[in-house]
Symmetry: C2
Subunit: 472 residues, 2 copies
């Protein structure tokens, strides 16, 4: 994408010199998210406005100069949604990170798009309230990006995804105009809910500059449990049992191979249980009062029944918040402990009832297509969301593994399709999965999405090539 000689100068005039980065190391840093794809990292420029006026200036200059815009948050995404492979202008929201207002009585918080999810959580917490969307990258992930990707995380089971917590959005459209979608109202039935289109749009329809978020009361207390589970069907039986008896904040699982990697990463050999199990389930239960004794007793009862039914072989209930954090870390450290092995990842969703059956077909598929590779699975089983990980065989060249994974992806996604699942539960499509979109969306839906894209962004200004091929 060639840019005119005056383009960078115009941006500098509009925003000030310090707001425009062109240094190669900076272009490299801002031109990619946490997804390593086979596309180049090649933005022309990084624009870092400090206010909405600056954002509208960037949009207008880019529209006039024919330079595409990649809206950019914390770049913690795992699908290349924030990648700039083709001479784009990266529009970073990082200098717009103010918490603008907290309405404690109305349980609403207004923030600029560049505030991190953790900034929002802390501001809510200072008023005794909870912003319940929670995921590992929250310290870097920005609220704008988390909305544009409809971020999920570990408490979707209890609170839903980001979509459920967005009351209002302020968005800059392709014509440079800012528009307020929704607001602080609980109810508003006045036509199409445009705000919903922007949630999960991956920056393809406009730039989110501010958001009004709903808050809730935090649970009085929590009880954390780790269970050793013998089989895939037992995980689902345990889930049904616990969901009937208790209010679950989280129901996470991981297989024994995941646990081994976490322990190896920490240079430890002893796991949480004397006997290893095939799977482990981490459950967080909501308590009605700050004193969790009564809830611990109820959890114990449920676990005894689950043991009698053969669903679990062992369990630990946290006795303190320190112990709860230790149990959580066994789940949360998985991604980091796998990182050095360069795993191939898939983030899929299935109807919850079919998770066990899927896993029993997925493991043979890995053995067949990627012999010698280690298959690991963990995720948010209460949402039907599995994070499938495959580690390259020790003797395989990285390039050969990547090539093999292409074939594997197509077959794995076809299996997901057969199970009425989704090829992306949380991470989005970005550049990484756009060629596979048809496994989750049929031709009529993709046509409808293209028509919407065209209606909002007729000249392909915003994040072209993400979600689907530009122009095609």
């Amino acid at each position: 994408m060639p840019t005119s000689a005056t383009f960078v100068a115009r941006l500098q005039r509009a925003l000030g010199d310090d707001a425009v980065l062109t240094d190669p190391s900076e272009l490299a840093a801002y031109g990619s998210d946490r997804c390593r794809g086979d596309w180049p990292i090649a933005p022309t420029v990084v624009a870092r406005p400090i206010d909405e006026l600056g954002v509208t200036s960037v949009v207008r200059v880019c529209a006039e100069e024919g330079v595409a815009i990649v809206p950019s948050g914390g770049r913690t995404g795992l699908a290349g949604g924030a990648a700039a492979p083709n001479g784009e202008c990266v529009l970073s929201l990082e200098r717009m990170r103010r918490i603008l207002a907290v309405d404690a009585a109305g349980r609403l918080l207004r923030a600029q798009a560049g505030a991190t999810v953790e900034d929002v959580q802390l501001a809510a917490s200072a008023h005794g309230l909870l912003y319940p969307v929670d995921f590992a990258a929250k310290g870097s992930a920005q609220i704008g990006g988390s909305i544009a990707t409809n971020a999920g995380g570990v408490r979707v089971l209890r609170y839903g995804s980001t979509r459920a917590w967005v009351s209002g959005l302020r968005v800059v459209l392709a014509n440079g105009e800012a528009v307020e979608l929704g607001g602080s109202l609980v109810k508003d039935n006045t036509g199409y809910d445009l705000r919903q289109l922007f949630i999960g749009s991956e920056g393809t329809l406009g730039v989110i500059v501010e958001a009004t978020l709903r808050l809730t009361q935090p649970p009085p207390g929590l009880v954390t449990v780790l269970c050793a589970v013998a089989s895939e069907p037992a995980i689902l039986e345990l889930f049904a049992r616990m969901q009937r008896a208790l209010v679950l904040q989280a129901f996470e699982f991981f297989d024994h191979a995941c646990l081994e990697h976490v322990l190896a990463h920490r240079d430890r050999s002893g796991g949480p249980f004397a006997e290893p199990a095939q799977y482990y389930v981490l459950v967080e239960v909501e308590s009605e009062s700050q004193s969790t004794d009564a809830m611990r007793a109820r959890v114990m009862e449920t676990l005894e029944a689950a043991t009698a039914a053969g669903e679990i072989t062992d369990a630990v209930i946290s006795a303190s918040s320190v112990q709860a954090r230790e149990l959580w870390s066994l789940r949360e450290d998985i991604s980091e402990s796998l990182h050095r092995h360069r795993p191939h990842k898939n983030d899929i969703a299935l109807p919850v009832a079919r998770v066990a059956e899927f896993m029993s077909q997925w493991r043979p598929l890995v053995r067949r297509l990627l012999p010698g590779a280690q298959a690991l699975v963990f995720g948010h089983i209460g949402d039907g969301n599995l994070h499938l990980n495959v580690l390259p065989p020790p003797d395989m060249e990285p390039a050969a593994f990547v090539a093999r994974c292409r074939t594997y992806d197509a077959e794995a996604y076809a299996l997901v399709h057969d199970f009425s699942g989704s090829i992306s539960a949380e991470h989005g499509i970005g550049l990484l999965k756009r060629e596979h979109l048809h496994f989750s969306r049929d031709a009529a839906q993709i046509a409808a999405m293209r028509a919407i894209k065209l209606a909002f962004d007729p000249h392909g200004l915003f994040n072209p090539g993400k979600l689907f091929q530009a122009g095609a």
Copy 2:
């Protein structure tokens, strides 16, 4: 809208004679909803298919013959969204009312669009589960229509509007193709959430033929309270107090004039309290166990504190489910008791914190523009949703009152706009409020809505003239 001589014959061939109604009394019945507007009731024909194939046939025949379609549910709407004023084909879903499946473990229910909201509630209840969207017209309102209007009701405070409970939709588009949007997945981040566009679209984008709905566990017990409240600000103070201390299922209010109408309608003089109050608040509190004794004690404590703070002057706690129903009927019978007086209604939403201030400006506005008219207000104050009612002065001609209400509407909606409110919290825009849409949506948003309409329905087949003027 002239129709070709063969049009009705083609419909009869496609659907069978008994599925096509042309009798004037039937046209009159199917050509209107519960909104009395100044438009004619003039459909050409009523088509009542029994399956999706029938719906697609109607869409294809109408598209080819150039006859517009009014998708038609229980026609309980209050904004003329289901009105057929201009020779349209009314497409009634009433013969597609099967509950197709209940997945109790997954807490999902699949129904045809013509099932009533009550059908869905009962089917969920048979599995010990709850479909929590609840409103007075549930026995007639169909699930498809309730989705197309994003129905609210008395438990939005606890459970959100219909939008929060729609997992998947099956929709017939303008080209006659059926498409499945969403499904039974909890998570699916694969592009624009098209399902959200159809929720609240008032039949302007396509015909909903099936829906997958989420269910939840019913609360173990409920405690119902009626409070006498001295002032508008006290209502909000009481709301904040109770919301902090308890899990509220509903927080409804009505003024003394509403209570008088309900009592008069029943030929009774004695109200629930010895001394009349300015306002009454009906609160439903969730109990953690079936035995509500502990919760009643907690509610009592909260009410004592509210009394000490001067927020309430009296209160009744239900001692039985019969008594709870009796308290609820004081709120639920308001609309019926006002009906014979031919009230002019507005259904507005405001930021909750500004409700009291709004009411203090609204009453003088009624006195100024409609002298002699009685102003009444009730609604879902926990959602900021007020149902404003104005009864014509006894000596005013109906036509004169309707004319005066035009001026009143414009000023009332301007006031709503000044308070950052919505001109329609629940009822929708339909034909009734389309000229006022600009008070809630700015030009950029209306343009975006038109662009979406054009993308889905380029020839204006579905419900033309609803939400906004057709073609303009």
